[in-house]
Amino acid sequence: MDKIIGTSGALPFTTGDAILELSYLLAALLFVYGLKLLSHPETARKGNFYAAGGMVLAMATTLLLHKNNLHESIPLTNAIIIVISIAVGTVIGWIMARRVKMTAMPQMVSFFNATGGAASALVALLEFPKANMGNTGSVLVTLLGLIIGSIAFSGSMIAYGKLDGKVGDIRSKNMKYVNMLLLAVTVALMLFMMFSGHAPEELNWHIYLLFGLSLLYGVLFVMPIGGADMPVVISLLNSFTGIAAAMAGFIYNNEAMILGGILVGAAGSILTVLMCKAMNRSLLNVIVGAFGGSASGETQAEGTMKEITLSDASILLAYSQNVVIIPGYGMAVAQAQHACRELDKLLESRGVTVRYAIHPVAGRMPGHMNVLLAEADVPYNKLIEMDDINPDMPNTDVAVVIGANDVVNPAAINDPGSPIAGMPIIHAHEARNIIVMKRGRGKGYAGIENTLFFDSKTRLLFGNAKDSLHNLINEIKNL
């Protein structure tokens, strides 16, 4: 493997070097192909497997064949340390990923994103002392890797905390100015380090200051953003982690890292934009945080909320023909997906057509509802996307809203002054009857009154969604 077989740009290279580069090419192709397969339901699982294969390949060949600038391979002691570290990481990651409940999936993804960001930041931090200050391009990627990786880490940890209910929102009018100032200081420090002409040793405390500032920025960046916008934030931070990894790839001149990182960066950005579009908001709007509790809009709820008894609800459902279930985050919180499927089966056995209307941003992650309902064995073809179900809503006998709020709020259509004006919604209000399962009389995440709940066709069933569903199932069985 160490036989020199040629030269490239006056540098000799060996068989091992060539094989290593070849394996990186293969890994990069597996990432691309894996991501491609991941975007079709039929092939998604295979795609994930391919991408993982690419990763294992790149890790193994790096360990076996990588040489530093002095043409030294990785010594055995180091290799053993690395293998042990990888084993530790794999076991912990595996156990966490296996144990996590499906409802806690979004925060789990956010947590894993944080660890990737932290790894990028650490690599950049440790590579900085070796940087060649004359090469501004290489210094730039190192510092950017540190900044972006740190923001991804601390931001994702805050997002994780918020989704897990451990961290609340902190909002203040001046926050955005503080954030802008902090970002400006961070960038200024980075530019100073690049062009000061000092050697890396002389910038020892600067690099830690930069690390600290970036971590702080990540915290303050996510802090004011409301829980409902977390999916967008996680997707954005995910693309940050990708970019940070790519920056580290430039430090090592490693094409697998560059391509994999940029690929994730681009894909993450596109996903972020798609999600923003689904809410009809700009990314800037999400980041600055327009969902303030104070924004009330002009909508004043007219009428009163009318409750429905279990027996009335069961009769209404059992003797209708066409039922559409609209799930939201409340269903995820109550873990009501299995009960929901049970109700659906029971109704189907009585000849009722039951379908699910899925809003693209229902839940705390795009596709969150699909994942939950899939867990409860709801067939794929019963999950109907918003644009396809809306034309059918006027012909729907009963729309059952389970723990959803803002995504069915007619204010988005009727009230131009509403903070969610223009956001596409599921037209639950057009159904002949509406049953809303809700824990209490509170407002949704956007903090605005939902006129649907006061509609004359709407009846409310208060209580935990899972309990309500179980009671409803028993009632229908006794009919």
């Binding site: 990785i74 340390i81 650490l122 990708g242």
Partner: protein
């Protein structure tokens, strides 16, 4: 102006890779049904764990003769990177497993 051209030429290969990968990433993702957004995000997140390769290189050539900042933080980077990779792929697989099950 000249300065920009010099920069471009010096880093032309990197710039080519960035430009093409961005295009590729956008192209691959654009036609995804919203059903798959979560698994896709999770899968992409696992791929961003490719930083682990950097961690391996870093620890691989670190001096193991004495306990240094580089060694300890490097090991931490490898562990965290592996967490991202292993956890990310396993979580994604778990999500996709459920899609498969109901298709029967």
């Amino acid at each position: 102006m000249e300065q920009i051209l010099i920069y471009f030429y010096t880093y032309k290969e990197a710039i080519f890779i960035i430009a093409l990968s961005v295009f590729l990433g956008i192209e691959v993702i654009s036609h995804v049904p919203s059903v798959l957004h979560t698994p896709l995000m999770s899968g992409a997140n696992a791929i961003s764990g490719v930083i682990i390769v950097g961690g391996i290189i870093l620890v691989g050539h670190a001096n193991t003769g004495r306990i240094s900042e580089e060694l300890i933080l490097g090991i931490l980077a490898v562990i965290l990177g592996t967490l991202n990779v292993a956890g990310g792929f396993v979580v994604t697989d778990r999500m996709l497993e459920m899609f498969k099950k109901k298709k029967k």
